[in-house]
Amino acid sequence: MKYDYGQAVLCKLATEDGIVMTRPGSVVSITSVNTAEQAEAFGYPLGTVVYTVEFGDGSDKSVSEGDLDDFPG
């Protein structure tokens, strides 16, 4: 896993018109997609590591590792 709990990250979010923006957040949950049931539940293929990232307003979003970037600094 590239990121750890509590680590600051940049989460890539796509807007409705396809523009990708990043939003700073902190990792609060890490889950490996190991079964077909999990793949269906998460919407990611087997083997994906899914991170739940909490943003500064307390909201959160679950994304794959590929949707995260290192937080600068």
């Binding site: 700073p24 609060v28 889950t31 490996s32 049931e37 269906e40 909490e54 679950s62």
Partner: protein, 266 residues
Amino acid sequence: MEPRFVYHFTGKERDAESGNDYFDARYYSSAMGRFMSPDWAAKEEPVPYATFDDPQSLNLYSYVRNNPLTRIDADGHYDWDKAIISLSTVAGTLGGALVGGTVGAGGGTLVAPGVGTVAGGWEGGALGAAGGAVVGAGIGKGIVSVLNSMSSSNQAPAPGPATAPAPANSSDTTNTNTNPFTGPVAGPVIVVDPKGNAIPVAGGQQLGGSKDGKWIQVKDANGKPTGTRVDGGHPASTHPDPAAQVPHAHVPGQTANGKPWLPVKQ
């Protein structure tokens, strides 16, 4: 609009109208510190659950014989043999922790005491709170011995990756798991961390988190987070609010002073 019920003392639901906590068999008034009706037993007895060596047992309105620091009530009846159970956290690490518990006779909830007190619990939220505590520091010898004996027969998983364990087969009716760190539990359990913060886990749910136990999430059977979790504190670079930078809890729909970061015992 405030919900009619929220979870309070030892994880019981509070009726917003009366302010009393629902303990299955009876309602408890935390304001008065007693049950609102006398204890009763299915088999008619003059003084249910009384023992001759404990005068407190004669008071049918008292909560756990007026000793809430060392005893807990699972279902509104004071029956020690039925009431207690379960495990507590040990060593405070997720990987090596013994957690969870089974359910009391009432089919509801039961708190397994950890080490430490809960002065405030999860304010406005899940458990604990309500003028008191989930369970306290002075764990009675009785409970400790129960916990120890349970721990020898229900060992925690060896430390490993902090990822969700493989989900149990939902059609598996033989699931008797009571340790949410090893997979979905058969019935509701409440995990208490070393600080005394209680984490409710419903049947079919499980827990995941960091190896150091500072980050714990309630997940569904597939490992998907439910939103109820304990966070170890976020960096100031992403969370400017000081309340988010210290350990806190999240319960969907619950806020403290309008914020989603619910205070926890630290």
